[in-house]
């Protein structure tokens, strides 16, 4: 077991020399997280807009469900995706278990409700302002959704970043469906958990520092988006 100071020193050394293992893990983490966020946005934005603007049976129930799914336990998602993708599962023939694709699927499921629920709220607020104008123009539901999504784009960036933050920090689901296989499915969070349990604190701390920096960068981006949205609200 290294001392605390030694571990920090070693961690900064790993970051400073762009340690190949560390870079590989960070790279895979970003690939999985960004892909999952992208897919979650593609599903969550229109779903949230539909819940905000659409008038159809069970809309209220669906809204409650999406809101509830924001708190979906990652290990449960991991377990369900594991069962679906395991050999005996309905999608077992695809051979996706223990691959980055499986991790992307699990994270997409986790992040989509967050993005959809935030989108619904953002679009609903905007719709309250635009509703009468768009109705007077004769805009149909599809056009209204497109208009509101575009005009809410800065606020929606915040929703996407919130989802990305969740995906980046997630460990349970990707551990189960990815298996934390070295050079294949090892991402920052699973590597930190493993290296800590092995007493290898340098890599764990190095990854932790990178994770914190990325998280900070995401929050800075979110704040920037909010400021931009406020400015655009007047513009």
């Amino acid at each position: 077991m290294q001392g605390f100071g030694d571990a920090f020193g070693a961690a900064f050394a790993l970051i400073a020399r762009f340690d190949t293992d560390l870079v590989e893990i960070v790279g895979l983490s970003l690939r999985v997280t960004l892909s999952a966020t992208l897919f979650a946005c593609l599903i969550g934005f229109p779903l949230g807009a539909l819940l905000a603007v659409g008038r159809f049976p069970l809309r209220g129930a669906l809204t409650v469900l999406v809101n509830a799914l924001m708190g979906l336990p990652p290990v449960v998602v991991g377990l369900v995706v594991y069962l679906m993708l395991s050999r005996a599962g309905p999608l077992g023939t695809l051979g996706l278990l223990y691959t980055p694709t499986a991790m992307i699927v699990a994270q997409t499921i986790l992040v989509t409700p967050i993005i959809a629920a935030l989108t619904r709220q953002i679009v609903a607020d905007l719709d309250a302002e635009y509703h009468e104008t768009l109705r007077s123009m004769g805009a149909g539901a599809g056009m209204r959704m497109r208009t509101l999504l575009w005009d809410g784009r800065f606020a929606l960036t915040t929703a996407a970043l919130a989802g990305m933050g969740r995906a980046l920090a997630e460990v349970g689901a990707v551990m189960i469906v990815g298996g934390n296989i070295d050079h294949v499915t090892r991402v920052m969070t699973t590597a930190i958990a493993l290296e800590t349990s092995r007493g290898e604190l340098a890599l764990a701390l190095g990854l932790g520092i990178v994770l914190m920096i990325l998280s900070l960068a995401l929050n800075s981006l979110a704040m920037g988006a909010r400021v931009g949205a406020a400015r655009m609200a007047h513009a």
Binding site: E132, S136, M137, G138, M143, M232, A233
Partner: protein, 244 residues
Amino acid sequence: MLRLVATGPGPDAAIRLEGVSLRRGGRMVLDGLHLAIPATGITAIMGPNGAGKSLSLRVMAGLIEPDSGSVLPSEAVRGRQEIALVFQKPVLLRRSVRANLRHALAVYGVPRRKRRERLGELLDFGRLAAIADAPARALSGGEQQRVAMVRALAACPKLLLLDEPTASLDPQATAAIETLILNTAASGTAVVIVTHDQGQAGRLADHIRFVHKGALTEAAPAAQFLLAQKSPEAQAYLAGKLLL
């Protein structure tokens, strides 16, 4: 209170409200309103606050379904896009002026290949070319109202409804809007304007409809109405008395 039932020229009306009633919050806000809007020229709807002027515009635009009575558009204004409404406080999209107009053209189903040409026409018509790329919501109130009017005209409506378009605007902005209204009417679009301003009614209107307590009390050519009102309500209103 005298209530008129037959209003204006029947066959030449762009739209008629017949016995339209609407209750809001337990109060009758439109009370058997009979109103005919001539198919040409500018019609000013006047009356005190709460008379039902703006509501009658919303009913004509199809935004509010009356509790009873009929809304009878003429053949010319029967299509959804033949009637355009501009609100007192226009809501412009969070985009440039150009993008606002482009969005309207898309909503109104103008084919893509024609949008650029039509966009140029609209910018010219509204004298908006100089501010075409400015963020619409950063413009002055008068400029925003002009953009909203030109956006409404993107549909080439046969009937343009304006809800107090110059309320709280300065004289220069008011003059610009009034010029736009006159040009629109000259191009063959029937215009309805809700206004409290006698002077504006005199400058713009060909016809006046006076509404009080959700019902029509007087309908007359503008020159005649402004010279001598027949109904005591209109007389009191134009004399600056409070109508309770």
